[in-house]
Symmetry: C2
Subunit: 189 residues, 2 copies
Amino acid sequence: MNLQFAILGMLAISPMNGYYLKKIFDKSVNYFWTASLSQIYRELNALEAKAYVSSAIQAQDDRPDKRVYSITDAGSAAFMAWLTHFPADLPTLKRDEFSLRIFFGARLGKDALISQFESFIAERKKIIAAMADDKEEITAVTRRVKAAAPRDKMCMRFITRRSQLTNALLISWAEDCIREIEQTPLEWE
Amino acid sequence: MNLQFAILGMLAISPMNGYYLKKIFDKSVNYFWTASLSQIYRELNALEAKAYVSSAIQAQDDRPDKRVYSITDAGSAAFMAWLTHFPADLPTLKRDEFSLRIFFGARLGKDALISQFESFIAERKKIIAAMADDKEEITAVTRRVKAAAPRDKMCMRFITRRSQLTNALLISWAEDCIREIEQTPLEWE
DNA sequence: AGGGCCATGTAACCTGTTACATGATTGA
DNA sequence: TCAATCATGTAACAGGTTACATGGCCCT
């Protein structure tokens, strides 16, 4: 259901086809919301069945034809209703495999445990780097799509900063954990 | 698949029934991994079909009979294989509805946006309080189940601290966002 | 008398992943 | 020439949610 609103939100900015939607997703909301192409196509069908979007084939010379989706009035209304109505409990689906592994981590050897934390740090650093790389492209994409109002930029800055802060925190948390493990007596095994 | 390993990990500590497993989940891994009762029952069936666990009915006088599950040798081996083999990319399913809402938040009025951040802060504070409440119960439960080795406690402390730090960070992030929204010129609407 | 806890499960449904199928164009 | 990108979709499967069904005990 939420993915449908995410799609509606994008289509409210500009009409696009499924393939391009996927690209936008990967470059913008990807840090807190993922979607696969097959999922996007499925949800676009569902949205069209509800008449929240309409589609039209657009022929192209050198590339395959594409089906461009536009949001309808009913779709806009549904999107705004969703956005305005803030749920009492926002359900956070929790499936953090790393925490799960660390929860049971005492059964691992000291070195194995430390190396898992090190992999975790490496991955977080990769994410930070990827975010920096994406940054220019995101602004380029959003600029092409629509001249974003200052408040649009502000909201995007909020969620970018959230990711940056969280990643930085997690790295220092993991470093502390490693230090603590290293300080435990050798009689671990 | 991962839920199966989470269940195996719990059963490796002590045999238990599905209902009690759910309680343990809610009081321990709940902050980074959730599971519903029907899911637990389903996965227990799947685990038994694979002979990773075995079960036996245990009669009780004043309460309904219960089916107590124990981990088998094959189950222990599978669990340790999973725990030891750290995946190159640990797939983080991302579905953070709050970030999604804020991403599209510029279409909301200033007050509505601020109040969504305030709800977010209130919820995070509730989680922190719930964690503090649970803390005693968790240690009581784990103590009843098994005399936890110091390194078990250390690993649990790691993930608890992670939650605490993250929550504290998110609250101060949200407070900063509110401050920034308040400082924007009045010509928002 | 009524609600909450103990206890187990099934069925339908929704959401997300992976694999398959097709095929032209473009750049290294 | 080979891989990547553009472009759309289906099918099967895996994982998670919600609703239903049952029923005794305990406490207020």
